[in-house]
Subunit: 396 residues, 2 copies
């Protein structure tokens, strides 16, 4: 019999999706070039030619049965070893292949990580503003997602609220830095304070508290920003990564979990995740993509475009007297709206062909997100529209 | 805190895995060519050159952002439309894109299908001998897998036992034809009888009973065999397919669910599956593989090798007086062991460098599986070893 549970979920369309559908409709009327769509977080810079060349070379030179054959359920062993070595070089860690579990993107990584370190009824804490899919990744395991209100001053961590929320049922924290939607990066100071607090609570509660670190934007860091690698600061860390943004290949679904070698049961996390995969019928990301990416590790798309776009928008927002924290990475910015109701604010913006997403979606009403993974030329053309919107609606 | 549930699962290694590990060890001693490993169901015929050419062409000609970009959560719309049209041509169905949900292989398809049509506590019935991963696909949803004992005469359906097992809690049946491990194909007579019985039970129980049809071997059918397309015979059918075997690309994880246009909520199944994917953090199979396969639909590897291998083995088994049903497809055969304890039988076979899998693994003790997806030359060389094994162990 058709499941009422999943059927009931069909009604609720995400706000981002609604905004983007409106943008598509509007594009039919006035042309795509004239709709300033800041709603979707899709990479906008080309896949590097070296990745395409590597794929082509593999297809030409490798035995097809090896190239397209089953990978082991934790991922292709040689690929896992390469990723471990790459992380060790980049961040001074001591991973081995045993600590790496290959996933379908960061989504698969976070959802597996939550299952690996919680039981139904446990609490997982995240921090507003946050990626709304976290609700699904956590709640469908039977665990409960708790959200710490935002530190709207700097979009670091609201420690006062966090301390109140921590309790013996807290089994994991889920952090996302560089952050979607705020664009901010947790500083070394923030991470050190968080690590210290969690270590203390582990002692008090007498059990592990895992830090699940969702890091798909790890490679999009702007000039001079302090961007610590979380696992260096806290032993019970699981780093969740994706190549979607760094190589502009979101559709190929490749990511991994790297379990800190010092975490509890560090070499069991990956085989446990393989058991989790069995139950959802989902074994391994695609072989050819695993192999191709492992042979171009360190390669990225031209990510500098995002910083260029950020600077244009940030400057104009400051000129227009928005309250806004300068992003340290990603392709998002999260200013305060000019009225309390950010949904109303974003609706008015549509009259100026600006597609913005209200902060309510991210657990932080009163703010709005702009995703600037679009052509720089378009970002520039959007600024007069933004100015018109602000002046006509809020400064008459 | 690390989940005890998944940790507990780590101890249990599958028998197939143990056999195959023994085979790998033995290969180090006497050379891979001399171990007659019939344990693993991996395709052994090359990926068709036309598939490799298509992949290369896509990499050369398509915009990389389109080729590697996010696919929608139900799959790429144009790909879904092509698959629907292909099925309509092949089987006289009336699918549209709306009925197709793209999955990571048949595993993803079956696991999603079970979630879509059951609630925790519901019963799902399958038929021995059966693929042991079904236990995981079903039980991890909270539903309960019930197994109808085998019809060991023909490996069709034991209807008497099925009728006893059906009850108002039965919400789905899970069938696999052509069958792993028996290699047999359900006849039109079997399917018609099954459909009739389920329709009657739907009326009596007053609710839908879905037929989840796991069809990864649909294209490996031997000459002259009656191989009906299940959805033509029963409205509440969900066909689960994979390209792993037909194109020899198991590592690329591509499959789909095709919901019968006449089933209850037929156009809701795919969007519901997209909601299921959200909760497990697993969105869509890889874009480039979706696109490439959709452009070579109907293409298969040279599957005739499997029939050649089957004939060699079947003939020798008959000569050796095994009780065995002639396979109608797949690359498996499932003879009766020469002693009651098929685990003991398979262990003795290892002394002759023959790697066989006991039927216990498939819910059918007393039988054993041979997977003949290996080189024909090796199959031929294995026959004298099989004869020696039988004569020395059982005919002295």
């Amino acid at each position: 019999m058709v499941s009422q549970n999943y059927k009931d979920m069909l009604g609720a369309k995400s706000v981002i999706r609604q905004m983007s559908e409106w943008a598509a409709e509007r594009a039919k009327e006035i042309g795509r070039a004239n709709v300033f769509d800041f709603s979707l977080g899709n990479p906008s810079v080309s896949v590097p030619q070296a990745f395409t060349d590597k794929m082509t070379e593999l297809l030409k030179t490798r035995d097809t049965m090896e190239l397209h054959g089953y990978s082991q359920s934790q991922g292709i062993p040689s690929v896992r070893a390469k990723f471990a070595e790459f992380l060790n070089q980049a961040f001074g860690m001591t991973y081995t292949a045993e600590h790496i579990f290959m996933t379908t993107g960061a989504a698969g990584a976070v959802a597996h990580a939550v299952r690996a370190v919680t039981q139904p009824g446990d609490e997982v804490i995240t921090f507003a503003p946050y990626f709304p899919e976290y609700n699904h990744y956590v709640n469908q395991t039977g665990a409960v997602l708790k959200v710490v209100p935002a530190d709207t001053k700097q979009f670091q961590i609201n420690f006062e609220a966090l301390e109140k929320m921590l309790n013996p049922k807290t089994m994991a924290l889920l952090v996302n830095t560089p952050n979607n939607p705020s664009g901010t990066v947790y500083s070394t100071e923030t991470i050190e304070r968080l690590a210290q607090l969690l270590e203390e609570k582990q002692r008090v509660y007498g059990h592990d508290i895992f830090l699940i670190s969702d890091e798909p934007y790890r490679d999009i860091i702007f000039d001079g920003v302090d961007a610590p690698y979380i696992s260096k600061y806290y032993d019970n860390s699981l780093s969740c990564y994706s190549f979607a943004k760094s190589l502009s290949i979101p559709g190929e679904r490749l990511g991994y979990i790297a379990a800190n070698p010092k975490c509890t049961d560090s070499t069991l996390i990956s085989p446990m995740c393989a058991q989790i995969s069995r139950g959802i019928g989902h074994n391994c990301p695609p072989s050819i993509i695993q192999i191709a990416v492992s042979e171009v590790l360190g390669l990225t798309s031209d990510l500098s475009v995002y910083e260029t776009n950020m600077k244009i928008i940030y400057e104009e927002l400051v000129n227009l007297e928005f309250e806004v924290v300068k992003p340290g990475g990603t392709f998002y910015i999260f200013p305060k709206a000019l009225e309390e109701d950010s949904v109303a604010f974003c609706k008015k913006a549509m009259n100026y062909d600006l597609v913005l997403v209200p902060g309510d979606t991210f657990g932080c009403p009163g703010y709005f997100r702009m995703a600037y993974c679009i052509e720089t030329e378009k970002v520039q053309r959007a600024m007069p529209a933004l100015r018109r919107f602000v002046e006509q609606e809020y400064k008459h």
